[in-house]
Symmetry: C2
Subunit: 395 residues, 2 copies
C-alpha cells in the first residue's frame, strides 16, 4: 500500500436549513462576501436563500452571476474584474451553484489576488511520443504570487463535489479544451450541504449529476492511487446512489432522497479528493462536454459502461465490490449491468450521437482525452487507438 | 435524517516511515515538545523513533512516561506538574502510545493551562430515578479557563482511535470509576499513522486492540446518531478488521496487516467521532477494565456478542450489513456468529470470570455502566435489570 496523507477538510454542515449558517462561516474567514452564482440558480430563487442569510447578519456583499455551464476563460476574466472592483481585503467568496460555479469561483479566488485574469494558471500539457501526458510541458504559464481569497461552498446540485477540493476545470474558448487547475488554498474553508437548495433541480439535471456521483465513486475506487479511507467513502456513495438516485429523479421534492444524494456526492468527493482522483471516464467525458456544451454528468453516463468494460479485466475484483454496493452480486459483469440499468432508469442512457457528437470529431476528442490530466490514475492506461475505439462504440 | 456537522480533522499521514514527519508537525504548531508516553512504549524502543525525529530537527523536548494502562488521576497530576515545569509557551504535546497515553495526554493538555491537576474537568454524572444519566448532574466541577496545549498523536496500537477526537477516559482512583472528558481544542492537530511503530505489539494486545476497532465500528454503525459519512467509514473498518486482524495477530511483523489495522482503527475513530459515538458494549466494558485493570479491548470483546444479541431485534438490518462487511451473509445472526468466530480466532473469547470479575461486583459494575455517558446513543436503552443480566450471561 502506498503512503498517503489526509488533509483537513473545511467544516461541513449537513441538513435541511443549514444554509442559514452561511453567514457565520463568512464571519469565520472575513467580513464581506463576493457571491458567485449563475442565472439559473438565481432565477430558481435559490441564490436568495444565501443572500438573505448574509443580509440578516449584516454582511456586505455583492453577487456575480455571469458563469456559463462549462465555464470559460471569458467568465474568469469577468469575475476577476468584478472581484477586484468589489475589493479583496476581508472578502470571502461564497460559491452558490453546481460544479461550474464552484470551479469558476475557485479559479477567480486563485487568480484575482495575483493579478491574473486568464487561464495562464491552468495546466495545459501536450502529449509525448507514446500519447501520454508530457510532464515537461505541464507547468502553467504563470504562477500564483499572492494569497488566494478564502472560499465557502454552497452546492445546489448533488454532482461534481467541487466543494471537496481546490481544483477544477475551465474551458478554453479558442479550442473548447477543458484545462485543469488546482491550488489547496482555494479548497472551501466551509461547506453547507442543504438539500432544500436542490429540490427544484429538474429531473434531467438531477439524473446527470447523480451519474457524475456514481462515476466519481467508481473511478476513485478503481484508481491506481486508491486508499482505504477513499474506498470506504466511495462504496458508501455507490450504495446511496443506487438506493436513492431513482427516487431523487422521479420525485424531486423528496427531501430524504435529495439529502442522501447530496451526501453521496460529497462523500464521493472526499474520497477522490483524498488522492485517488478519477480516470478514463472523466478523461473521455470532458472533451465531449467542452466541445458540444453537454452536461458533464451526461457525458460520463454515456461513457461509463464502455470504459468499465475496457477496464473490467484489470479491476474485476473492485468492480465486484461495486456490484455488491449496488445491491446486485459480487461480480464485475453484474456491476456493469447494474450501472447500465440505473442509467436507463434515470434516463441518461444516451449515445454520443444523441448528445450531438460527430464521427468526424473523434480524432480531436481522442487527443483531448489523452492530454486530460485526470487520465493519470486510470487502472488500464489506454492507447490512442483504445480511446478512439471507445468513442466509436459510444457513438 | 438528523442534521450533522463534520468538523475538520488534523492532517493525517499514513504509511511506513511517516513517523519521520512528527517534527514538521510540531513546527507547524509550536517550537518545543512535551512528549507523553508509557514505560512499555519506551522499553520497546518505539519512543526513540519519535524523539530521534525531534532531535534531528533540533526541537527541544522532554519526555513524560508515567502513564498507567487505564490512566488515573495520579497520572494526570504528575503529568500536569511535569508539563508546567517544562513550560507551556510554544509547547506542543506529542502523544506516543495507545489509548491510555493519548487520553491521559489530552486531559493534561486541557487541564494544565487552566491550573487544574485533578479530574474536576471530567463528567461525573449520577443516575435519575429511571436509571438514566441525570443531565442535572452532568456539569463538571471546574471549567477550562485558558487555551489548551496543542497536541499531535502518534498511535502505537491499532485500537482506541483516541487520535480522532478531543475526548477520553480517566479512572478515578478512589472508586475505579472511569470518567469521561471532552474538549475540541485537544483533538490532535496532526496524526502520524506509522505501522512500523505497531509491529512489536504482542499478539494478545494486538487482538484486544483489534476487537476494540471492531466494537467501535459496530457500535457507531448502530448508534441512534449514525450518519452516512460515519456509516461508510465504519463498514470499511469492519471489512478491514475481518480481513486483516487474524493475520496481524498471527504474524505481527506483517506490515500490510499492521497498516490495514492501523487504518481500520483510525477510520472507525473518524466514524464514531463524527457524532454517532458508541454504545452499551463500551458502557459495560469500561467498569470491567476500570475495576480489574483488564485491557479495554478485551473487555469489549467479552461483552460484544452478548450486547449484539440484546440489540439484535432493534437493529437487525444494520447487523445484516455488518455480516456482509465481515464477508459472511446479509443476516444479523450470521454477523453475530462471525464476530464470535473472529474473537475465537484471535483468542479474545474470554468470559468475565476469565478476566477476574466476581459475581459479587455485578451490582456495582451495573451502576457504573448505566452512568457511563457513552451509553446515551445505544440503540436499545437498557434497564438496570438488562445490564445486570448481560453481566451475568458474560460471567
Amino acid at each position: 500500500m502506498t503512503n498517503f496523507t489526509l488533509e483537513p477538510m473545511g467544516t461541513t454542515t449537513v441538513g435541511a436549513g443549514s444554509v442559514a449558517e452561511a453567514a457565520q462561516h463568512v464571519r469565520a474567514h472575513g467580513n464581506r462576501a463576493f457571491v458567485v452564482s449563475d442565472p439559473g440558480v438565481r432565477s430558481a430563487g435559490v441564490l436568495n436563500s444565501v443572500t438573505d442569510a448574509l443580509t440578516s447578519d449584516g454582511i456586505e456583499f455583492t453577487t456575480f452571476v455571469d458563469v456559463d455551464p462549462n465555464p470559460t476563460d471569458a467568465n474568469v476574466s469577468a469575475g476577476v474584474g468584478a472581484l477586484r472592483q468589489f475589493g479583496i481585503e476581508g472578502t470571502v467568496m461564497v460559491l452558490v451553484g453546481g460544479g461550474s460555479v464552484m470551479d469558476c469561483g475557485k479559479y477567480i479566488a486563485m487568480a484575482a489576488p495575483s493579478g491574473v485574469d486568464d487561464l495562464s494558471l491552468a495546466f495545459s500539457p501536450d502529449l509525448d511520443d507514446a500519447d501520454k501526458i508530457d510532464f515537461n510541458t505541464i507547468a502553467p504559464a504563470a504562477q500564483v504570487s499572492a494569497p488566494c481569497v478564502p472560499t465557502i461552498a454552497v452546492p445546489t446540485t448533488a454532482g461534481t463535489a467541487s466543494e471537496t477540493n481546490g481544483g477544477g476545470l475551465i474551458t478554453q474558448s479558442a479550442d473548447h479544451r477543458k484545462l485543469t487547475f488546482g491550488n489547496p488554498e482555494v479548497k472551501p474553508r466551509a461547506v453547507v450541504l442543504d438539500p432544500m437548495l436542490t429540490v427544484g433541480l429538474p429531473s434531467g439535471a438531477t439524473a446527470a449529476c447523480g451519474m457524475d456521483v456514481l462515476t466519481h465513486a467508481i473511478e476513485c475506487y478503481t484508481s491506481t492511487q486508491s486508499n482505504p479511507y477513499a474506498d470506504g467513502l466511495a462504496l458508501q456513495a455507490i450504495r446511496l446512489t443506487g438506493q436513492w438516485l431513482p427516487q431523487a429523479v422521479a420525485e424531486g421534492s423528496n427531501v430524504e432522497a435529495r439529502t442522501s444524494m447530496l451526501i453521496a456526492s460529497h462523500l464521493a468527493g472526499r474520497a477522490f479528493s483524498s488522492g485517488p482522483l478519477l480516470g478514463l471516464v472523466h478523461a473521455t467525458g470532458h472533451p465531449v462536454s467542452g466541445t458540444y456544451g453537454v452536461a458533464h454528468g451526461q457525458t460520463l453516463a454515456t461513457m461509463l459502461p464502455h470504459v468499465m468494460r475496457f477496464n473490467q479485466e484489470t479491476v474485476a475484483g473492485r468492480y465486484a465490490d461495486v456490484g455488491l454496493a449496488l445491491g446486485v452480486a459480487h461480480d464485475a459483469s453484474a456491476a456493469i449491468e447494474a450501472v447500465e440499468k440505473l442509467s436507463a432508469t434515470v434516463g441518461t442512457n444516451r449515445s454520443l450521437s444523441d448528445l450531438g457528437a460527430k464521427s468526424g470529431d473523434i480524432a480531436a476528442l481522442t487527443t483531448d482525452a489523452l492530454r486530460d490530466m485526470i487520465i493519470l490514475n486510470t487502472p488500464r492506461y489506454p492507447s490512442r487507438e483504445d480511446v478512439r475505439a471507445l468513442y466509436e462504440i459510444a457513438m
